[in-house]
């Protein structure tokens, strides 16, 4: 009796009101007072004043996947240095590799009406709604190093497909010299753009060269997890030629597994990115080679984009651009001479 009344009420509510899907509501948003960019002829002091004016008091927030990596920490330091000096209101948050937390933080910043949001997409699809909402209320979004499926105002990062190809070619060369043909891939989240693009780079090279990919697993950028993955791979494939690893920190976990298995001289370790810690490992021969991209250049480019966007005053989402930073192979021979490699955190 009670149940039926209840069901009746519920269905009534459904029928009478109907269901809607609304675009995520936003009110107002940060209006841009930045202006139209610099005039054609300008005095140096005037230009400085104009840039300063367009940045003063602007809220700029940086939410990477985690602030526990040297890479993201280093970017944060650079952002802080430039934006603080320009009188902007800069803040950063550590999501500690937790997607839920990161989304919550980004949502909060959007709701606060920040002017520029600098984010790192934990996976390709996940921040689509956030980018859309940010644009709707006039917040610029700059993606650093990891791209999303919804274009932001600017993407700056490394070209992972090209880097993957380069790294794979180096591995194939080394493996042929060793007379081995088994490689293992240790990825990141699996669904982030770095992983996807790297796969597009290195997999065709391995296939063409007749290399066998014996394992392709995710580490979630966690050295401990990478260590577990590598240990398992090495137990099954003692004749492995090398590991293709997504990131330098991850690579150090793999290196430990190789050392534990006592295969230091036989199994190579190759990865992207080259922080100071990793360069030390390279010098000690714990890792074999890597593709270093100009890591601090990413922060510089992103900071430039933020300033350019604020100065131009273009509506958020009206112009979507991207650009890469340079990269090159680093190994024991050239480790001290590659620009941008072996960066440290203050």
């Amino acid at each position: 009796m009670k149940k039926s009344v209840f069901i009746w009420l519920a269905s009534l509510a459904l029928v009478t009101t109907g269901c809607t899907v609304s675009a995520t509501g936003s009110s107002g948003g940060a209006s841009e007072a930045g202006g139209e960019g610099l005039p054609v002829a300008v005095d140096g002091l005037d230009a400085q004043a104009q840039l300063g004016e367009s940045l003063a008091g602007k809220k700029i927030a940086y939410v990477p996947m985690s602030l526990q990596f040297d890479l993201t920490k280093m970017w944060g330091q650079q952002f802080e240095a430039i934006f603080d000096s320009m009188g902007a209101d800069y803040s950063q948050e550590d999501a500690a590799n937790n997607v839920d937390t990161q989304i919550r933080m980004i949502d909060s910043f959007i709701n606060d009406g920040v002017d520029v949001l600098i984010v790192q997409n934990p996976d390709v699809g996940v921040l689509s709604t956030q980018v859309q909402r940010a644009h709707e209320q006039g917040t610029y979004v700059i993606s650093v190093n990891v791209q999303g499926s919804q274009s932001s105002d600017a993407y700056v990062g490394a070209n992972y497909t090209a880097m993957g190809r380069l790294l794979a070619e180096r591995m194939v060369e080394d493996c042929k010299a060793k007379g081995r043909n088994k490689v293992a891939i240790v990825g990141g989240f699996g669904t982030d753009s770095n992983d996807i693009e790297a796969d597009r780079g290195w997999k065709p090279v391995f296939e063409e060269a007749g290399m066998q990919i014996v394992s392709d697993q995710q580490s979630n950028y966690d050295p401990t997890k990478a260590n577990q993955v590598a240990t398992a791979v090495l137990q099954q494939h003692k004749d492995l030629c090398g590991f293709a690893v997504i990131f330098d920190v991850t690579s150090l976990g793999v290196a430990q597994a190789v050392e534990s298995a006592g295969l230091e001289d036989q199994v190579g370790i190759y990865n992207f990115d080259a922080s100071a810690v990793w360069c030390d490992a390279l010098r000690q021969g714990r890792v074999t080679a890597g593709v270093a991209y100009n890591a601090s250049g990413i922060a510089v480019a992103a900071a430039y984009e933020a300033q350019a966007l604020l100065l131009s005053g273009a509506p958020a989402g009206s112009r979507r651009v991207m650009g890469y930073v340079p990269h090159m192979i680093v190994d024991k021979q050239n480790v001290d001479t590659v620009p941008g490699a072996c960066y440290g955190v203050a």
Binding site: S108, D123, T129
Partner: protein, 721 residues
């Protein structure tokens, strides 16, 4: 009739009405107190958080808090149901993760229509819940370890699924139906919130108002006794895990649609958040107690806390730390509060009252009407050794004796010398007062239940089990806990006493230790309504309609008095004393055939028991330190029957001076020239033949004011049944 307040009969000042100990005990005894303290503390935390970090209440943060509230709320409902049924589910977060990942794969990779994705995902939730249910309810593994293992397994399943589909999983599919789940609105309310509220209302009604809810609570409180009471324990417990899986799957769907995260650690750590939420809401981890509404309140506070920690710029790890601290504090609170609340309530339940009785008549002094004699010493015994505690008895036209028994029976003793005994009816309570109605049915006051009518075939029909609850009073006085004695008036109404609104006959000693006005007299109308006519009596007991049918005589055992309540005539609605300051505690009262009344005494006052009455604190110490048998109460081992006139003059007193056969007389009933004696602690009914001078020509069983029918029982005038 306006309810008469008999508090004045105690002779105590108005302020004595307050009993702080008892009020506190009443408060602590409330079942909602179980959750009240945790939820109050939780609300304090919520208010504190909101005051210190007001940003979280802003329009912007509302969406974020709301999204968390919806997803954690669903898990909290799931966890509450499992906890109430005495189980545990650590796998809620992992099940949510599987559902979130699975639904994304179905939607993005297999491109199934949203409706199908929803159905398959929910079915998947049912399957996952069934795995938990199967292991815990059927294989009987421990819930904690089982769900810990299944949580790890489900989490691994998420990893595997993500690894398998990662490259095809990343690109969202534009689909308005899919977006509706996470970002749509029903009736202007976000879809998730709409369904959460619906689920909350439904689950609350089911938990508190349905048989299924009672089963859950019973299984969670005590599995073994639930099984003994015929509850399908396995099915009930299995069901909670299935429902839990279903709700988690729904939460996963909402999260997948809202966020679209393909991370393998989607919804990780949600089990601890949901657990904190339910414990904040006062859901007991020990099973059997919990409310989904309170759990939802706890969820809201957890969601606010999370956002506040972010707003204060604390490390994200701090959220976990804070939740853990809160969880520990509230789990400890649950344990201690749950354990000590009932104990404290019980300790404070007896709240003695100070009474100053009048001067004590010395019954041992020769020459008074009270002089001890042996008039009852030679009483014949009926049902000797077979009866246990017949408080009252009645005799039918054939001479068969009907009496109660503390085991819940009503005996019928027939035969020439009433030697043939049979259990005439079974009541389930403790039958006390008996009376015949004009139709020849037996009407009995049963302590613990109420008033029943037993037809000549022995069929029991309950005619009064509840009174109207007194408003603005913590204690629920609607049950008839101690229905004691009764009589019928010409209008067909049954007047009965309820000796205490707090305890039943089994705990009569606590009424005696307390001496607090908690008794009442009620009137059961022929139409079935029950109204309280007199309240605040101390141990209201015997009831008799006066010979003229104009008034009701009411015995107050522990104020040692008899009062007359006028029900007709110019004084209708007024009460006046008939007997005061009696030397003993009067019990039942009945009409005598010579126009007078019989009054029994359950025990006698002594100087020492009178002294104890003046000192409530001594009685508190007594109840705390002595076993019930050693409590200092009036002398129960000697008592008597007295006859008094309409004007309140004691005419005659009958004693069993030996104390062998009838040390305690709780009732007497005159019929066919004999007096039948009942006793609450006796193993018999006694019978003495009354001397000729005591026997008049009034039928003591006829209802005063009714036209006699066949010279025996009366017929109701103007009242129909």
């Amino acid at each position: 009739m306006k309810t008469i307040d008999a508090f004045g009969l105690t002779g105590q000042p108005w302020r004595s009405r307050f009993a702080p100990r008892r009020t506190l005990s009443d408060l602590l005894s409330k079942s909602w107190m179980e959750g009240a303290v945790p939820i109050t503390l939780a609300l304090c935390i919520g208010v504190f958080v909101a005051i210190t970090t007001p940003e979280i209440l802003g329009a912007g943060d509302r969406d974020i808090v709301q999204a968390r509230f919806i997803e954690i709320g669903l898990l909290a409902v799931a966890l509450t149901l499992v906890l109430v049924a005495g189980g545990f589910d650590l796998s809620v977060g992992a099940m949510m993760g599987v559902a979130a990942m699975g639904s994304l794969i179905l939607h993005r990779v297999y491109e199934l229509p949203t409706e199908l994705v929803v159905i398959i995902t929910l079915l998947g939730g049912v399957v996952m819940g069934s795995i938990n249910g199967f292991l815990i309810s059927i294989i009987k593994t421990k819930p904690f370890i089982t769900t810990l293992v299944t949580a790890l397994t489900f989490r691994a399943v998420v990893q595997l699924m993500q690894g398998e589909y990662q490259d095809r999983l990343v690109f969202p599919r534009e689909d308005i139906d899919w977006r509706f789940i996470g970002a749509g609105k029903v009736a202007g309310i976000p879809t998730g919130l709409f369904f959460l509220v619906l689920i909350l209302v439904f689950a609350h009604l089911m938990l508190t108002r349905s048989r299924w809810g009672w089963w859950l609570t019973a299984v969670g409180s005590d599995r073994r006794s639930a099984r003994r009471n015929g509850i399908p324990v396995t099915v009930v417990s299995f069901g909670t895990y299935v429902v839990s899986g279903l709700l988690c799957a729904f939460a996963g769907l909402i999260m997948a649609s809202r966020q679209g995260s393909t991370s393998a650690n989607v919804a990780s750590g949600y089990e601890i958040i949901a657990l904190t939420a339910v414990v904040l809401g006062g859901v007991s981890l020990r099973g059997g107690r919990g409310s989904v509404v309170r759990a939802a309140t706890g969820t809201l506070i957890v969601a606010l806390m999370g956002q506040a920690i972010f707003r204060r710029g604390w490390d994200a790890g701090m959220e976990t730390v804070m939740l853990a601290v809160v969880l520990l504090i509230f789990a400890a609170l649950d344990e201690k509060w749950g354990k000590y609340r009932p104990i404290l309530a019980q300790k404070l339940a007896i709240s003695p009252f100070s009474l100053k009785p009048g001067p004590l008549i010395d019954v041992t002094k020769p020459g008074t009407v009270w002089q001890v004699n042996r008039a009852l010493s030679d009483a014949d015994a009926i049902g000797l050794g077979r009866i246990e505690g017949a408080e009252d008895c009645v005799v039918d036209d054939e001479g068969s004796v009907y009496c109660g028994d503390r085991r819940g029976w009503v005996w019928k003793w027939s035969g020439e010398n009433n030697e043939h005994g049979e259990v005439f009816a079974r009541t389930g309570g403790a039958p006390l007062g008996h009376v015949f109605d004009p139709d020849g049915n037996l009407v009995v006051c049963v302590s613990g239940i109420g008033v029943c009518r037993i037809d000549p075939e022995g069929e029991v029909d309950w005619i009064a089990t509840r009174a109207k609850r007194t408003r603005f009073q913590l204690h629920d006085d609607s049950p008839l806990r101690f229905a004691d004695d009764l009589d019928i008036t010409a209008d067909g109404a049954i007047w009965f006493s309820d000796a205490s609104t707090r305890v039943g006959a089994a705990n009569y000693q606590s009424v005696v230790a307390e001496y607090r006005p908690a008794g009442r007299v009620l009137r059961l109308d022929p139409d079935g309504t029950v109204e309280t006519v007199v309240h605040n009596l101390i141990a209201a007991n015997g009831i008799a309609t006066s010979h003229d049918g104009q008034s009701i005589l009411i015995v107050s055992t522990l104020t040692f008095r008899v009062d007359r309540l006028w029900i007709q005539g110019p004084k209708a609605g007024q009460m006046e004393p008939v007997l005061e300051n009696l030397p003993g505690a009067p019990d039942n009262i009945n009409r005598a055939s010579d126009g007078n009344y019989w009054l029994s005494f359950v025990g006698l006052r002594t100087p020492f028991s009178d002294l104890m009455l003046r000192h409530p604190s001594a009685r508190i110490a007594m109840t705390k330190q002595l076993p019930v048998d050693d409590w200092l109460v009036p002398q129960w081992n000697i008592s008597c029957v007295a006859k008094f006139s309409e004007s309140g003059e004691i005419l005659k007193v009958l004693w069993d001076a030996t104390g062998e056969k009838h040390p305690m007389v709780t009732s007497m009933s005159e019929r066919h020239g004999s007096l039948y004696l009942g006793g609450l602690e006796n193993n018999r009914i006694g019978r003495i033949t009354l001397p000729a001078e005591d026997v008049g020509d009034i039928d003591t069983y006829a209802i005063p004011g009714l036209r006699p029918k066949d010279g025996k029982t009366g017929e109701l005038e103007g009242a129909s049944r």
